[in-house]
Symmetry: D2
């Protein structure tokens, strides 16, 4: 959680734990492109590398996308070039490389003469096989993203009504996909049968609808939250209204628990939980499981704030802003200064010496991935005069990569796969270290472990994966 | 206070209460320009419109300045073009207009053949007269800033050793000035006799020194805090070390109390106070003076955070993040969306509906200037379902403009000059409203009102002013 | 012809007669990307809207392309990101629209798992049918360019060795295509059976080769001209050297005569002719066919210069620079000045009053398309005091659009389809007007009309076309 | 001369012979800023490094200036920010350095409370003394340009009516100055007593006037040429019309002969001469003085074109475009290609092999400064197969630097000060080499040497100089 909705560049350990995407769609609104712009802006934390919008004016689709933040891509853009009353949009984090634009979304193509666009959050686990098969049949791939596969499948299956043939296409794919599709005359929202990634429905009126990855986008555009798109559901919105099809059932559900721990904005309702409250609960559970005698609880800003408030509440130890973040970090790139000591963390975070000196500190962070940043934070707290530094992590130890739409480090780079708890404690230099248990996490949430994917913590992948 | 050091664009009411400048200087450091860059970066909150650095290589001064944030101005800048082991730098907020660059600082000029540069924080109260007099004597002004006057005075007085004639020049000026001067062979720091604006000394070693408006800049460059430059003191640093001259004594001291309330970074030590602690104390005093029966205390992010923590602590009412700030605001300009409802506050701040619904809320902000933003914030809290909204302001009512280096609205735009307390309460739509008293403020601070300037609250200007 | 190689923005009537593309390829050169950059730079006049380079390092293809001039697209580009000893490149003129980048070339795709790139000059006449057929079979088109069709055909045909299956793919296409293809291990150059567009081979050594649309590119990279790629020929260059296949024979040849009139650079050898000399000859023929009693011959800069020199030589009338072009036009965009008289031509071209006053002038231009610019030029010559203005056009009247890779106006916008000669003369305000006859043109060239396409003048399209 | 008005980057030897400035002014025109923009655009060849405009709305002066071409500086500029019916403007070439903007013109300052702006072409010869004296009296210089001196002198002299005290200020300065001044209520044009630099008057009507460095600017804005501003004349234009004062008489006149040889646009009337015709005459004189038996005359584009036409006419040898210039050079920066042979000249100029092979060539250029570019051009002509290359220079040997507003190389870098004619011929590799004599130059011009400054050729400086 955060006072800020989150700031990629500041967020330390999570620089290696990247959200893949946010999707948005709007149906029948006089300012469809502008609404999509706002919706994407509210979900900027879900992807900072590219942004795009496709509108439908009833006859044609209009696309603009580019590299950069939402406001960069659409900065001087004339809304006149994105006419129409319906639209979908996408923000994307993507791996580096020169030709990023080719993977920027929404993707748009002519499928059997009909223009279709697609915005996708998630990752398929059988994309390599599908790609090879399609190529053998003569399909020509332009980019490297999983998402292009959906279009090729649809094109190959054919048929006059693309949203009716969609279920056939979806038979082939396995993995995580929360998607918004746009045709000239319809908006379609789809969530995979296990429901890895969030996707919600909102509305302006009975004839004007919104879909979005997070509810914070509904808040900003002023739409009312209706419900989640269900796992395995296709929601079609057109001039006749909203219709729903359950294209596939899965007894196993696999909502990504990391959305609640770190990805989603604290002010979103994700998988039915108020994210901020969930994080506070994680903090409370953590205080119960791993108490410590200390003078103050401080968060790693911004990701540890909610859990720290929970920890403080449960433990009775005062909550303090022990570390101040430079508000201009993230807005601006600080170029490397030749020959200087590493400023990595210091340039972003300044510990409050006067507050910390001689004190016993509990530091709360949401997760621990590589350990390098935690090590630095503990060091600057000690340099600032802290007498004891106890690190408490409001989630379990991360031990395995994600294959469902999160760009995680190699397994060998996850510190918890390389050292035991005491080893990690020594490495990061804390006086004590504790993780929240998975049991404690779900208890805090009041949920059954079975409805979530927690593979990054327990290696129980809900699907086969290519490891 | 803030988790973030502050973010101009987000800060609401204070969009009309602008800090003027930050100054920095470094003597005898192998990376003088880079250190100055970092120092300015740490003080970016003191001015976002222009930035500049002047270095001395012992023979010449080298200047680079430009419009924009520190990292914009120096983005592709080659440090090789700013050679030398000493430097001064400046960040500036300035009024709008096309020719801003001419007023960007440091100013540099040849004074009787010797290159001198100057970085100034503050405003003079007799600049118009001085300017007219100098023009009558043939001085040619390029820009419109007060700061140019110092150079003209020095030029007119003449003499071989400019820092020795400086006191004569300073005889003429009245008002606020905390300054760093750079000659090829010396760094000079000066603070006006009443000490309106902060200025501190730090050091790397016995032969390497730093001066800065705030201690957060010392923290980032890794220098040790030594002491404040005293009111009426000229500190000269050259190859022989640091020497001090008291050029003028004033029995009245006038440290700007608003530095502690809002301007300075929470992690700075300003006028001997840890700013964060001071703000927490203001919140505690406020809770004592104006208690309210409520379910939670929430801050207006980011400026009300520290005071809200103090209020919560004193009152025992739980502290909550009731409002989440979009972390991308400020980084990016959201272009006006034609024909849409005003998104001013909403695009920056999202109230947490699930948390606030049906609750009695105390909202804490650091100050109340025009009232327009408070009105909007209270509205979005009510829209989010809050049952009661009580606004508590951690400083007194602002009733008069500043003439000492803060860009304030006209007196008539200060809401407290137009309405009584009940009128303001109604206008902003709060269930109750209370300010911290001036007495409560100084009590929280543990200081005597006489050593501060609080003219914006009590109209007691420490100097004559041109109203 | 021109002193300058040509300047899109200055060229007046031809703003509606646009070259489509230039292609370049290099095999086995230590600076393949740089050479391609230079080759494209020399052919910048063939396309100003996008530029791209694909290199092969023997294992992978590396692509960079973008919108703008060659030097814009590669401005800050690190050659390190385009490694390898072989490359192809492309410059493109394309129709307006927001998503130009998707049509920028070279195109690159995985064809049955093998990376292939393609740079194409020309247009197909059966692209709509091909596209529809391919879509029916499940092919997914990303862009709207003809060139993508080649890749889909190749992908559909399949086979292990793409350059061996290429002839099968080419069976399907009709129209103009001069192309360079790049695989990881080969460079392939292809020219359609009628040879509409130019394509030449050059070499650095027996193992290092170049292909290019024009010889001016060979000059700049320092390669030696070898020969044209023949109509219907596939030239494959790989580690075993250069091999040639005649994939199709056509008795009809159709070299585009407009390349010699306007498109090619004057210093190129195109279709075996020195373009500058050809244009001078057109001017000489024109002087023989349509003499006039006058004081001086002046060119419309830059396109009429060579023909004007020929006209002056044949007629004995002195050649003069009657019109001076502003050398900064084209480099810079002059924004519309509200409420001012149309500056269209005047801002680019200034007639030399002192030279023209009271004189009888023959103005030479290379072609006459819409007539609007000629009208303006004649007007400014009269305003400058010319007594008589006789317009002579060094090509026949343009009466029909091109379907082979030139972006021409609608037939109804071609002035010669709307008025007879006298009507045009009156419209443009000349004292007399004459075109070069097609017979005179080919006589000047010393060529048989049968080996050229002159459909824009005589409507004899060498293929079926979709009119 | 040139088909193009000229192109800095292409012009070779003259990259070390730089024009200083162009000035423009307009009085009482409803689109004063736009007119000034166009006037500067027409004179862009006189300065490419900065551009600026000051307008008067009758009460205030409004300034915008910046680094770059006219169209860059005013690209997105809203004319609304430059209100008023009168304006002056300036284009500047200036030496390199980071703080160029401080020297960009027009300069604007408050002189005794009155806003005045100044645009200056030329250089003073006693600026160092003046500067020192003014500094001793307390004047503070911001920049390093001569032009600032005028403002300081005026400020020091004082008086209520600045244009009446101007003659007193001008008493002090020596050297070259053609200037436009703007006050809120007047436009003043001044030319130094010897008239080094050109300055002309034009008019729209009896109450609306223009001043400009060259007549090509009058042509573009559509004003009528009236006359030159006379040497030693102050022309004041205000609401009462145009009045003239002769502030100083000088028997010696010193019009810069290089304006006719190279600087001015060929389509300008400078010092009463049509520049294009003058250059043709230089070519004719050159042919008479230094004939050669050859097959063709070719110009170095663009600067040698007019003289080459004259040489061809007089000699009867055919004129040919032997060298084609890439029309995109100058528009775009070609970045250095690591490890490649020097492309300096080749990238700009391509010799027409087919034309030159086996031929005896006379190459005409306007001047020869360092010789390095001529050497390269002769080399590429030989590489193209030319049998003989004879270089003819349409001006005398350059032997001495300019102190009047042209940025020339050091004397020691002028090749004619280092070698005799035969030495230069060998160095550049020509079969023969000849300069036009100074006598021949003035004969061609039909003028008396006494009214011109030809110090760069004969070292007869019309004033004392600081060598």
């Amino acid at each position: 959680m955060s006072l800020n909705s989150r700031n990629l560049n500041v967020d330390h350990d999570k620089s290696s734990w990247k959200e893949e995407c946010g999707v948005f769609g709007v149906w029948n609104h006089p300012q469809a492109a502008e609404m999509t712009y706002l919706g994407l802006y509210a979900m900027q934390h879900r992807g900072q590398e590219s942004a795009g919008i496709v509108t439908s004016d009833g006859e044609k689709l209009h696309l603009h996308k580019g590299l950069g933040l939402v406001s960069d891509v659409f900065d001087s853009y004339k809304w006149n070039d994105l006419p129409g009353k319906s639209a979908i949009g996408h923000v994307r984090y993507s791996t580096t490389g020169q030709n990023l634009l080719i993977n920027a979304q929404p993707l748009k193509a002519d499928v059997r003469g009909k223009p279709i666009a697609l915005a996708h959050n998630g990752n398929l686990v059988n994309s390599l096989e599908l790609r090879e098969n399609l190529q053998k049949q003569g399909s020509l791939f332009q980019g490297t993203s999983d998402s292009e596969i959906f279009l090729h499948l649809l094109s190959r299956i054919g048929g006059d009504n693309w949203s009716q043939t969609l279920p056939q296409a979806l038979e082939w794919v396995q993995g995580a996909y929360s998607m918004a599709w746009m045709g000239v005359d319809r908006l379609v929202a789809i969530r995979d049968p296990m429901g890895f990634r969030p996707l919600v429905i909102g509305r302006f009126s009975d004839s004007s609808w919104v879909v979005a990855s997070e509810t914070c986008a509904l808040d900003l555009v002023g739409a009312q939250y209706v419900r989640e798109v269900e796992p395995g559901e296709i929601v079609t919105i057109d001039s006749r209204g909203l219709t729903s099809t359950q294209f596939k059932k899965s007894s196993k559900k696999a909502a990504c628990v990391f959305e609640l721990i770190y990805f989603s904005r604290p002010d979103s309702q994700t998988f039915g939980h108020h994210v901020y409250e969930a994080r506070k609960k994680f903090g409370e559970s953590l205080a119960l499981e791993s108490p410590v005698d200390a003078d103050m609880v401080i968060p790693v800003p911004d990701s540890g704030v909610a859990a720290a408030l929970g920890y403080a509440k449960q433990s009775g130890i005062p909550f303090e802003w022990g570390i101040v973040k430079n508000g201009y970090v993230g807005r601006t790139f600080i170029q490397p200064l030749q020959g200087m000591r590493d400023l990595g963390v210091q340039i972003k975070l300044n510990p409050q010496k006067a507050l910390l000196k001689g004190k016993r500190i509990v530091v709360i962070d949401d997760s621990l991935v590589r350990g390098t940043t935690s090590k630095k934070i503990i060091q600057i707290l000690r340099d600032a005069g802290a007498q004891e530094v106890h690190l408490r992590i409001a989630s379990p130890a991360t031990v395995s990569p994600c294959y469902y739409g999160v760009d995680t480090p190699e397994k060998s780079e996850l510190i918890a796969t390389q050292m035991d708890l005491e080893g990690i404690r020594k490495y990061i230099g804390a006086d004590s270290l504790a993780y929240l248990t998975l049991k404690g996490l779900f208890k805090g949430l009041g949920e059954n472990e079975e409805t979530f994917c927690a593979a990054c913590f327990n290696e129980k992948y809900p699907t086969r994966v290519n490891t």
